[in-house]
């Protein structure tokens, strides 16, 4: 029918977007996943064929009963076919249970292999690649597409296989009764095929719009409910209620269009049912008239056709699910089949420096968009154990330089040389940013991401170092408390302390801290600064400093302006120069001049 029409051709994706696999590539991936499971696939398919075949025996047996009655045989002879009917029912039930088990085992193991491969590729994608595509795309694939494919592997696929098998075998059985019954039944096919094509053509774009509309409601609701305090403070209640109502109204109208489509679809299928049924009954009449079929056979044919309604309706509806699952599969395959890029592995592609334990940035330039450079010709050397503060106005390029030193961003031009990781440490350089995330699960498991083999004692001493042990112990279940989404909620300051504790556990040679204290509010910021200082102790550190008190205590201060290093030196040296830093310091200490 209308399968595999390649509705998602490989259109040129918007620049930087993650790829969608072509139908050929998707098929290749499916085959690759299927090959090691050929035995299981064959067994599952064979058992399902057997189960469906058993399902076709009741109609001729019932037909036989009709014939026995028509021939006026004694009622005792009916016991034989009735016993057979029971036997067939038991065999069909058993074979179906076994077949469905095998088929779902096949589907589920393939699905697990696919999602693991997808997540592996996704986690190893270079950060810049993910950012260019927008992390929303990746999130949508890992949640929406994975569950859509899983849903159809779990429900649609076995059901579709069952229905298709039932259709094929039933038509075959009708042909066995008499080929002319088959011809009569096939009269319904043109209507069904046309209906299916009409439906898919209209439904696919409509469902895509419905998904967008459903997402929009959810988004609006979270926007409005999550920001309810703000909405009330600014008296925007009516505007926001209106926004939600509009989104909801739009989704309803799309849903109703979908409903009209579906009921129209079934209405047309009713026509096909009638045509086929009338034709089969009429064929039965003719065949019984000329003696080439018994009444029982005609009955069996009519019962067969009546029993086809369910599978045919099922199959046509499931085709739609299958289409949407295929689209999701192509989006998963697009990422899962990405060849590992050079530089995908953390730490790869960067030369170790000539001097151990030293970070050297030479003539680095960077632009996120062509023509808008954010960094130009930056030279920077971090000597072992040196604490360097990065200072400058917002947008001066501090964060970009920090990301380049941390190795999560490759510069557009210039080179970066990093020290090798310490023995036992995973990475030479660790970056902690203001963007924080608490991983869902027990607190201890979150920390162990940084050092999987860490024991309880190590976790506690890392927490103690950043001043977090007290509250962590006080959590409902201590370090085993489930945190993150749907778990115990931590304050912004606690989340940052957690990030610093991970840094301590990762134990890198070089620590890069970017605005790691910004979100805590001014009172909390000072405590976090002290925690950050302790976490960075004994390491080479690059700290993007907001508060100049933090900068003043560094070994060296690097002032950035418009993507360049404007000044570099100790606090005293820079004050003596009387340049940019001195001006910043003046602005800062003006507000606190009275403190001295």
């Amino acid at each position: 029918m209308t399968r595999d029409r390649g509705r998602e051709p490989e259109t040129a994706p918007p620049e930087g977007a993650l790829p969608t696999a072509s139908p050929a590539r998707t098929r290749a991936l499916v085959w690759e996943l299927l090959r090691p499971r050929r035995g299981l696939a064959t067994a599952g398919f064979s058992v399902m064929v057997g189960a469906t075949a058993f399902g076709l025996l009741p109609q001729p047996l019932l037909g036989h009963i009709v014939d026995l009655v028509a021939e006026g045989r004694p009622a005792t002879e009916l016991t034989g076919p009735a016993v057979l009917l029971v036997l067939v029912a038991l065999l069909q039930g058993g074979a179906t249970a076994l077949g469905l088990t095998l088929v779902s085992r096949l589907g589920e193991t393939m699905l697990a292999a696919l999602r693991e491969r997808f997540v592996e590729r996704a986690l190893l994608l270079p950060q810049e690649r993910v950012e260019r595509a927008g992390s929303g795309d990746l999130t949508a694939r890992v949640t929406g597409d994975v569950s859509r494919v899983a849903e159809s592997v779990r429900n649609a696929l076995p059901e579709l296989a069952r229905s298709l098998l039932a259709i094929v075998l039933t038509l075959g059985a009708m042909a066995l009764l008499d080929w002319r019954f088959l011809v009569a039944a096939l009269l319904a096919v043109p209507v069904q095929a046309h209906t299916a094509r009409w439906y898919v053509r209209n439904a696919v774009p409509l469902y895509a719009r419905q998904r967008v509309a459903a997402g929009a409601i959810q988004q609006r609701l979270l926007d409005t409910i999550g920001g309810a305090e703000t909405v009330r403070a600014f008296r925007m209640e009516e505007e926001h209620a209106g926004r939600v109502a509009n989104a909801s109204r739009a989704a309803i109208e799309l849903t109703m269009r979908g409903v009209r489509l579906v009921v129209g679809f079934y209405s047309r299928l009713h026509i096909a049912e009638y045509i086929g049924l009338a034709a089969v009954l009429f064929a039965g009449f003719l065949l019984v008239q000329d003696g080439s079929a018994s009444i029982g056979t005609a009955t069996a044919a009519a019962l067969y056709f009546h029993s086809l309604f369910g599978p045919i309706n099922n199959a046509l509806v499931l085709l739609d699910d299958a289409q949407s699952a295929l689209a999701g599969l192509a989006r998963l395959a697009g990422v899962a089949t990405l060849p590992p890029e050079p530089g995908t592995e953390p730490e790869a592609g960067r030369e170790p420096g000539p001097e151990p334990r030293t970070v050297t940035v030479t003539d680095a330039g960077h632009a996120y968009e062509v023509g808008r450079p954010v960094l130009r010709g930056v030279d920077l050397v971090l000597r072992p154990g040196e604490q360097v503060a990065l200072v400058g106005a917002s947008g001066a390029g501090k964060s970009t330089l920090a990301r380049i030193v941390a190795g999560v961003q490759r510069p557009s031009s210039g080179t970066v040389r990093l020290p090798a990781a310490r023995p036992g440490a995973r990475r030479a350089v660790v970056l902690v940013t203001q963007e924080s995330h608490v991983f869902a699960g027990p607190l201890a498991e979150d920390l162990r991401l940084a050092r999987p083999e860490a024991d309880e004692e190590e976790l506690c001493s890392a927490l103690a170092l950043v001043g977090a042990l007290e509250w962590a112990r006080a959590l409902p279940a201590g370090l085993d408390t489930v945190v993150g989404e749907a778990g115990h909620r931590l304050t912004a300051a606690q989340v940052q302390q957690l990030a610093l504790a991970r840094l301590v556990l990762a134990d890198p040679e070089v620590a890069v801290l970017d605005e790691a204290t910004a979100e805590a509010g001014s009172a909390g910021a000072r405590a976090l600064e002290r925690a950050a200082a302790r976490a960075a102790e004994g390491r080479t550190a690059l700290v993007v400093a907001h508060r100049l008190t933090q900068a003043a205590t560094a070994d060296r201060i690097v002032v950035m302006e418009d993507g360049r290093v404007a000044e570099s030196g100790t606090h005293e040296e820079l004050l003596a120069v009387g340049g940019r830093y001195a001006a910043l310091w003046e602005a800062w200490s003006d507000t606190r001049a009275t403190a001295e």
Binding site: V66, G72, V88, Q92, A228, R235, S248, A518
Partner: protein
């Protein structure tokens, strides 16, 4: 005479009552459809009996014509019945959604306490949908009963013993199937919960991708995901096995019922008590009845779900408001003087504070919780336990909280931005002719706009999470300034902003709010410097008042809170 109903039932009845015509139309039409479906196997039997067996072409064509009419009727009733009940379902969900959102946004507040935003959004979507689904389940039930009754009537008309066999047998077998599969169902539900976990973990890891990359934990994360994925796989396969078994059991039982009907019908026909056509009709009806009987179980589930959902919705709608409105009005020519008398709330104790109209006041709190408690009292998100807050001599308790907030704006430290452009956010509550450029500059948001790809037309996504902390703060501050309320209270508006910009913003606030009452609750010296007067809040009490420079000179607590 009216028995007391639970709040959930009230919601349920009100929702259905509002769409009673659609529900009724859906029920009648879908019952018609089901009756038609029940007639099809009967007509097949009649066509075989009187047409094929008797060899009567005229009779065959007559019955085929009747079949055509039945198909026409069932098809049309299905079409319009489904439309009516689906429309009712969607409209009910929409109405309830609007009610929930309206309650959450009500100026009195209180609906969010104890509920996460995600949970409330879930109530407004999923629970509203489940209650709406009842408008679909009721016509479904009507159709099911009609199908059952029609089938039963025909069977009994064909033969009383045969009808009784089917009518007793079908429910008995379903009940048996239900008994056999109940432990399986239970197991399957718990397994499915575990199976869903893999996708949750994957989404969580992707959401924290930057953090993972920062600490080089990609491999560790991947190992963890694999373990979860395998665990989910094992659970899913157990669930699938249980489900497959359930499927097999139902199939086998159905087959047995058919065998019983075939045997007893055959015996009756052999004894000449019923015709061949009756036998065929009976077998067809027995097969047909399995459908309605199975959906009867589903209708039950739909009712149970709708009841639970309606209760959750009723709880939100009936959530006690945090504050109740008073009837007083504010004077037309507002001066904007605030006075707090012996206010005690949360950690605050006996706060006495006069804020003169037009004053720029700084409030430095040593405990962030005290600052929050004060802020909540100022725009009536909460009423103080003791003492009063007055605006131009009117106690806030006597005002409607919504009216109050048209006058007093408390701009929270973590205020959310909304979907729309940067400029759209700033101008959301500004007067038509407001000079937004000037406001943006005062808040340092002009610099934010310059750094973004589309300037002030850049779209803000995910409640402002697409901007950096410093950018978000400045845009939120610009919005608060643009609202131009007679009284403005800002809380820590510059914590993620660099020093130079902070000083500029302080000057901007002072300039823009000249002559209008403004309170800055903060420990930032840059802001406190520009205040006319600063009060120091320590241990829940006001311990000092004076200009920033003076406090910084003479008060050790102030110095340690603000200057270190």
């Amino acid at each position: 005479m009216s028995r007391s109903r639970s709040p959930g039932q009230v919601v349920l009845r009100r929702a259905l009552g509002g769409r009673r015509r659609l529900v009724l139309a859906g029920s009648v039409l879908r019952a018609g459809h089901q009756a038609g479906e029940a007639a099809v196997p009967v007509l097949i039997g009649l066509a075989v009996d009187q047409g094929v067996v008797a060899g009567d072409l005229g009779a065959l064509l007559r019955w085929l014509a009747v079949l055509a009419v039945v198909y026409l009727v069932l098809s049309f009733s299905y079409r319009f019945g489904a439309r009516a009940s689906d429309r009712a379902m969607e409209e009910i969900a929409h109405t309830l959604r609007a009610e929930v959102v309206g309650r959450v946004l009500h100026p009195g507040g209180g609906a969010e306490s104890g509920r996460l935003p995600g949970a409330l959004a879930g109530i407004a979507t999923e629970d509203a949908r489940r209650v709406g689904a009842l408008a679909n389940a009721i016509p479904g039930a009507a159709a099911t009963f009609t199908g059952l009754l029609a089938g039963a009537a025909v069977l009994l008309w064909i033969s009383v013993p045969l009808g009784l066999v089917v009518l007793a047998g079908a429910p008995a077998l379903l009940w048996l199937g239900h008994l056999l599969s109940r432990p399986l169902e239970r197991r399957s539900a718990t397994e499915q919960d575990r199976a869903a976990r893999a996708s949750g973990v994957a989404a969580d890891l992707v959401a924290g991708l930057r953090v993972l990359k920062g600490i080089g934990a990609e491999r560790a994360a991947l190992d963890r995901y694999r373990a979860t994925s395998r665990d989910s796989l094992a659970a899913t396969m157990r669930a699938a096995r249980a489900e497959a078994l359930q499927n097999g059991v139902v199939l086998a039982l159905t087959g047995c019922l058919i065998a019983v009907v075939g045997l007893s019908g055959g015996r009756l026909a052999a004894g000449g008590r019923i015709s061949l056509g009756d036998l065929i009709s009976a077998v067809g009806l027995a097969l047909f009845l399995i459908g309605p009987l199975q959906s009867l179980a589903r209708v039950n589930t739909a009712f149970a779900q709708a009841r639970a959902s309606a209760t959750r919705i009723a709880e939100v709608l009936a959530a006690p408001p945090a504050v109740t409105p008073g009837a007083a009005r504010l004077p037309r020519d507002l001066r904007g003087g605030l006075s707090l008398r012996a206010v005690g709330h949360a950690g605050l104790r006996g706060i006495d504070l006069e804020v003169a109209p037009g004053e720029l006041l700084g409030v430095a709190a040593t405990d962030p919780a005290d600052a929050l408690a004060l802020l909540r009292c100022l725009d009536r998100r909460a009423d103080p336990e003791t003492g009063t807050v007055e605006l131009d001599g009117v106690s806030l308790r006597d005002l409607d909280p919504g009216d109050l907030r048209s006058t007093v704006l408390v701009a929270a430290h973590d205020a959310d931005l909304f979907e729309g452009t940067l400029l759209g956010n700033v101008g959301a509550v500004a007067e038509q002719d407001a000079d937004l450029g000037r406001v943006m500059a005062a808040a340092g948001a002009d610099e934010v706009a310059r750094a973004l790809p589309y300037g002030q037309e850049t779209a803000v996504a995910e409640r402002g999470r697409s901007l950096s902390g410093g950018q978000r703060q400045r845009v939120a501050l610009a919005r608060a300034l643009a609202a131009d309320r007679p009284v403005l209270v800002v809380h820590d508006p510059t914590t993620a902003v660099d020093t130079v910009t902070e000083a500029r913003i302080a000057a901007g606030i002072r300039e823009l709010r000249r002559g209008r009452t403004t309170i800055m609750v903060t420990t930032s010296p840059a802001l406190l410097t520009v205040a006319d007067r600063v009060v120091l809040l320590d241990g829940g009490r006001i311990v000092e008042t004076g200009p920033h420079t003076e406090l910084a000179r003479r008060n050790e607590t102030y110095r340690s809170a603000v200057l270190t």
